[in-house]
Symmetry: C2
Amino acid sequence: MTPSHGQVAAEITAAAFKDLVGLLGAAAVLSEDESQREYGDPFTFAGWHSRRIAATVLPSTVAEVQEIVRIAGRHGFPLWVISQGRNNAYGGAAPRVPGSVLVSLRRMNRVLDVDEEHAVARVEPGVRFFDLYDHLRTKGHRLWSSAPDLGWGSVIGNALEHGVGYTVHGDHAARLCGLEVVLPDGEVIRTGMGAMEGNRSWNLRPRGFGPTMDGLFGQSNLGIVTKAGVWMMPEPESYLAGSIRVPRRPDLPALIEAIRPLLLEGTMQNPPAIGHPAFIAGLVPGAPSRREVHDGPGPIPEAAAIELARRLDVGRWTMRFALYGTGPVVAARFARVRRAVSHIEGVRVDGETFPGHAVHELARDQNAQVQAGIPSLDLMKALDWYSGPGGGHIDFSVVAPLKGRDIVRLHDLLDGWMSGTGLDFDCALILGQRYAINVMQIYFHPEDEATVARVWELYPQLIRAAAAEGFALYRTHLDFMDIGADQFDAGGHAQLRFNERLKDALDPHGVLAPGKQGVWPKSYRSG
Amino acid sequence: MTPSHGQVAAEITAAAFKDLVGLLGAAAVLSEDESQREYGDPFTFAGWHSRRIAATVLPSTVAEVQEIVRIAGRHGFPLWVISQGRNNAYGGAAPRVPGSVLVSLRRMNRVLDVDEEHAVARVEPGVRFFDLYDHLRTKGHRLWSSAPDLGWGSVIGNALEHGVGYTVHGDHAARLCGLEVVLPDGEVIRTGMGAMEGNRSWNLRPRGFGPTMDGLFGQSNLGIVTKAGVWMMPEPESYLAGSIRVPRRPDLPALIEAIRPLLLEGTMQNPPAIGHPAFIAGLVPGAPSRREVHDGPGPIPEAAAIELARRLDVGRWTMRFALYGTGPVVAARFARVRRAVSHIEGVRVDGETFPGHAVHELARDQNAQVQAGIPSLDLMKALDWYSGPGGGHIDFSVVAPLKGRDIVRLHDLLDGWMSGTGLDFDCALILGQRYAINVMQIYFHPEDEATVARVWELYPQLIRAAAAEGFALYRTHLDFMDIGADQFDAGGHAQLRFNERLKDALDPHGVLAPGKQGVWPKSYRSG
């Protein structure tokens, strides 16, 4: 129940602590207790104490970030970096190595620039989706910035973890353009065109002259991103928030087969999401409670799910999607969507159209809001619906081809493993053009040690079983990063060796986020 | 007139040559003379002899590629790798370091797999645009693969050099998904999901678990790409090949301002290209000859350009673009395009619509073909029109924001430098969503040493002058890679130092493409 990489733990010396306070002032260095309160992992059994944070530092400038990594290198203690630290269900803000010093970038929270004509902002990592949205609204920009289901996270941090949102720039990693990065030894680089002082295209073109480095800093411990360009979409003339409901569980593959061409041809430009009726119940006032739907152990039985769908007037699977463009373009696209799914018996297609400029006032439900980039915390209600206050979850999220047959194979596999465990879970899908991320949320109460332990025992088995069938993790919880990385076995784990070579070249003291995504610095690797 | 990095040159020993022949057989190792005939730089003054190739090796398998880099490491000679070697105007197939051994991947030319449902192919680097197109046609796939203006190049090689095509996947680097790479020490890695043996999503999702490496291998000397996934578009129901003609040279900024929103909102999904009437003349039977239009030194005078446009019935600037979708979607998009440019006095918008399935038979001109991914060599005629048989050119290609004011600034700068040189040139623009690549083609005859020398003297001055104004190279000719890299000066050339750290970590013997994009291995860098 401890980090799988053995009993690695760190200590920070008083001298190191003093250097940090000397650099930042006492108000920007939190003690262990303060850190734990603000930056713990909310969704693990707290008694395990495997997430100890020695101190938290809150730099405000790039120069301070540079000096922090230099101090860490000098004293030899590990850093763990978070932008906002809302990586809940994957470990929250907590570090892999207990006793790490947390670098929280929450104070670097400026929107530095908005280029309305090119629909791009340059922001610092502490900028949340809420902040960027508010900034755009306050300044009157007619731009929509993609947001994930919960708006409290960092725009940059979420993208670096390969997070997903729901406008045309829903693949958040792909919309970062032009990074500034502090390397583990304190060097600062700017990627792409920004590597040239005064270049006009830093945040406009995702490549520069020579190799492209940006990808190195996602799901990574190779650098600390301190600025990034973030692409947005211009406010469309017309916006349709749509849904497709199919009545039966086995309708899923047909739905996916029908939608894939629409994604490939660009009729749908944003990532649609497909969910279980229970996930909608929390958002619907007057919906039956979890206990009314199913009061036993384990997931909601199929008959109860169907009954819940009926009562909520949604599908057994409900897909949300959006269309953007001029009025006629949106109408023509919607006709295409209707035609594409019309062969599925009992299918229902709905769409509500908004003038783009009025969406902020008119869009009321979370689906309509989030696909226009309007951030909220509404989805917390879905979690509350499942578990009540204080509930937690861990997500088992893997990538599958966007193909009905593969998704069915994956669901069968997961059902098989979950069956009989008594654990409560459901699956949601987020669709890319050619792949789907299948997010299986497993619900529990963090103070229920026995259940958490059961989940923690099952999770690595799921990783291995999925990998054996060709499905890999999209991202994962801190405690399972080594097992996750271990599944990437082509060429005798050539990827891991490659990652380690880069790590050793760029982080000679091994201070930055040791163990992140299973990549350990040399000093932590035992022969 | 020699490589700017001093008099670096290499020799291959008889023992090394013997090892290569032992590995590949004599038929797969070309002598110096054979190499020069097949793989020279066609567009430099040949008498300078700065492109000497010691030998060319033609591997057929990944294992042979691995063994080649190992032999090079053992004997310490430099390799230069080409897929097809059609990088003309930037040095062709020739190496940076004279005396290098050329690794030609032309024999690794298999289309390994086509996944029709996900619109992706997995190919080897020797596969040309022609080959992939023919394969798709022969097998009856209803997929369009993006192609550049000349179809003889390698699908992979072009993408790695950040090449451009003209379907929705025109940004070729962005459509590679999932690489197999031989590292300079002979290790093989697979990027993304392919790092897991048997993963189903290798070529479907551009990220895996942990850092994303793919960008490292573009414009790079860090590895040899031996396989890649290549995204394509499904054959659309309807396809419109369009053009927008504006009558006056100063109409360019207004055109760009009008088009940018269409690109940002996705009305136009492919990279439009804007060209000079002279570039069209070569493609029009019965067009006036270059001599008839202008017979003196220097570029075509403005009045003659206007007159040529009148005779060809094109614009002073002519922009080609394409629309794809269902019939109604294409029609609605076309209406949007018309409306967006209608304020430009004298503008003319045309469009020819094809049923997607019939484009192979019905599309006759190069613009209609290339935007449907149909490769050709027709654009050679444009070069011939300028210079007659045996003519050459070098391209000065820089990236600018997609903004009228920036493009005007750039054109003024280039005009200023070119004025009085007597050199013949024109500019074409390829538009991304937020940037434009401005390609200034400078025409000459390679055997005219004095003119070539004048161009070679001017080119580095152009690089510096453009950089001083915030415009950087998109890619460049072999001889100017160091000067190009030198302009990336942020943080005291932090990018170059970063590139060198990666190079030293991954290529300890410094054998792979030394000097590529200005990055030299340690052994070549003098203190």
